[in-house]
């Protein structure tokens, strides 16, 4: 019996945070419902109200978090500065819209099609990997994504992409229609984010992750240990593109319109902001950052209207100034100090206890 205890304890300690967050996230719509006088049954049925509305906002946060997570793997963990990351998201969003609407492909075939497109996209970025490094890689990826940004807006492709208006009316099966089955879509996006997070965490903690971190810190040293860093960087790009592609797919599924904005530099900057707010390279920071990013934008807009963008900008500056490692990064850095303080305290009491005996 007792021999199982350590395993169970370590399992619990490993997934404690994820489990608590998941339970809280699932309970959240019902708590909001109860607070605003809606019964759990009404929340489940997707009746209009506060709970439904906030679930809609949370779905956006989950998708943005998925996207931010994918950027954190490339920039935060592997140390590849890409200014074309929006393309990973936009390829997923546009490919799914075109496959569903113009090609009339079934939902699941479209999903697989998006994954294939995401891999191709990552290989395209991988093509330039061995040739350019650092800021040059950033500029080349910016160039690639700019081409995509221009192409989706071209009038020749208006039939497929909706040109500068955006892609509208992609047919989505009824079972995943966010207007009808809000709680279901909420759970699906939450599940997608959780699975992606757990996979990412496993990657970072595995030997592969150590090489990715080593590459970020000093590629020369990783090379001189005998690692062909190219394959590791390509691996990060492929995993990241798949994740961002799925985020784009989910975006198309639950948004009435996919605007070209999601392919622009602004969308890459959004990813950068989210991981800066949360903490670069921390993974959980990407999720926290996405929540802060979306909620700040929404509530400041609601409370202050036209002056909101200034306030949003000011809050970012404040966050970067006072939390230079981001919310999660700074928390972790202080955890070490807190632990040392606690240890000191314990030792202090340990000595006293011994004296009193």
């Amino acid at each position: 019996m007792t021999s199982f205890a350590p395993t169970r304890a370590s399992l619990w300690s490993r997934y404690r945070l994820v489990a608590v967050a998941l339970i809280a996230a699932v309970a959240f719509p019902f708590i909001v419902g109860l607070l605003s006088g809606q019964s759990p049954a009404a929340v489940l049925a997707g009746e209009a109200g506060n709970a439904k509305f906030l679930q809609g906002l949370a779905i956006e946060v989950f998708i943005l978090a998925l996207y931010a997570l994918s950027y954190d793997l490339v920039l935060g963990v592997t140390g590849l500065l890409s200014f074309g990351h929006a393309m990973f998201f936009a390829v997923g969003a546009y490919a799914s819209g075109i496959m569903l609407k113009s090609f009339g492909w079934p939902f699941w075939v479209t999903f697989i099609g998006v994954l294939v497109a995401a891999v191709v996209n990552a290989l395209l970025f991988g093509l330039v990997l061995p040739r350019v490094k650092g800021i040059a890689f950033a500029l080349v990826t910016l160039g690639l994504s700019s081409v995509f940004f221009i192409v989706v807006q071209s009038s020749e492709l208006a039939k497929y992409t909706g040109a500068d208006v955006g892609l509208q009316g992609a047919p989505v099966p009824e079972w995943i229609d966010t207007n009808v089955h809000r709680f279901r879509v909420y759970l699906i996006t939450l599940a997608a984010l959780t699975i992606a997070y757990l996979i990412y965490r496993a990657i970072v903690r595995a030997p592969t992750g150590a090489v990715l971190l080593a590459n970020r810190e000093n590629e020369e040293r990783a090379l001189s240990l005998g690692y062909n860093t190219f394959w590791f960087k390509l691996f990060a790009l492929v995993v990241s593109s798949l994740t961002a592609g799925v985020a784009g797919f989910l975006w198309t599924v639950q948004q009435p319109i996919v605007t070209p904005q999601v392919a622009g530099l602004g969308w890459t900057v959004a990813a950068l902001l989210m991981i800066l707010i949360g903490g670069v390279g921390t993974l959980t920071g990407a999720i926290v950052g996405a929540a802060v990013f979306r909620l700040l934008e929404y509530y400041l807009e609601r409370w202050f209207g036209g002056t909101a963008p200034v306030l949003v900008g000011a809050s970012y500056i404040a966050i970067v100034l006072f939390l230079p490692y981001g919310i999660v990064g700074t928390w972790r850095a202080r955890t070490v100090n807190r632990r040392q303080g606690l240890d000191r305290l314990r030792r202090l009491f340990g000595i006293r206890a011994r004296r009193s005996q």
Binding site: L213, A214, N218, R221, L225, G226, N228
Partner: protein, 233 residues
């Protein structure tokens, strides 16, 4: 036959001609010291051997096979370990992860862990700490320890004593002496006393050229050469 030999090696970094004809030979089991003033090209010589700054011309042979035009990870995998200067560990990884990442074959670390920790006992109690929490000397020990994890025939060690307290220099010298019992070492060392106690042969590099080489025992008494090329006696 020498384990490693360089002949007429020229290396450019961007447009700068850094190595202008380096010849050197490292025999199996030897410790060879690469001497010379700051900026003479000692570090570049090591990086050129590893392919990190590829040679533009000349030949580099390791076990009779040419290393020129090979990628750094291929050269490293061929059995050449590298300890870069400035305590080159991975700060975001723990001590154990730093050692484990150097595995070339599964089980390398498990096989050599005890040997490395007996060479550098300090590392044993720091094993779970991240690299950032280590002192300079501990980082240097970790950097050397890391190069011992895989099965290397040759170690390139760059300035192991740099910035270390005298007592740590002593410990580092003993460690290098011990590891050299089954590995050949090419050592870059500014501290002539350290170099002269460890190495059996030397090569002096001056402005990118190898200008002098021989047995360390002869150099120790040759004050004129020491004065001329190393600026110290």
């Amino acid at each position: 036959m020498a384990l490693l030999s360089l002949s007429e090696v020229n290396t450019f970094i961007d447009q700068y001609h850094i190595l202008e004809g380096v010849d050197l030979a490292v025999g199996e089991g030897e410790i060879v010291a690469l001497l010379g003033r700051n900026g003479a090209g000692k570090t570049t010589t090591l990086k050129t051997i590893l392919g990190l700054t590829p040679a533009a011309s000349g030949t580099i042979e390791f076990r009779g096979q040419s290393l020129t035009n090979r990628r750094p990870y291929e050269i490293a995998a061929g059995g050449i370990g590298y300890v870069p200067e400035h305590r080159a560990i991975f700060r975001d990884l723990t001590v154990e992860e730093n050692l484990r990442i150097a595995e070339r074959e599964k089980g390398d670390y498990a096989k050599r862990k005890d040997m490395i920790l007996s060479l550098f006992p300090d590392l044993a109690r720091l094993i779970e700490l991240p690299g950032t929490k280590l002192s300079g000397g501990q980082q240097q020990m970790l950097a050397v320890g890391r190069a011992l994890v895989p099965d290397n025939d040759l170690l390139l060690i760059d300035e192991p004593s740099e910035g270390l307290a005298p007592i740590l220099i002593q410990q580092m010298m003993e460690a290098i002496k011990e590891l050299s019992s089954d590995t050949t070492v090419l050592l870059v060392e500014q501290n002539f006393i350290v170099a002269s106690r460890l190495a059996s042969t030397y090569v002096i590099i001056e402005e990118g050229k190898s200008v002098h080489a021989g047995a360390m025992a002869d150099l120790v008494d040759d004050d004129e050469t020491i004065m001329r090329f190393l600026g110290a006696a």
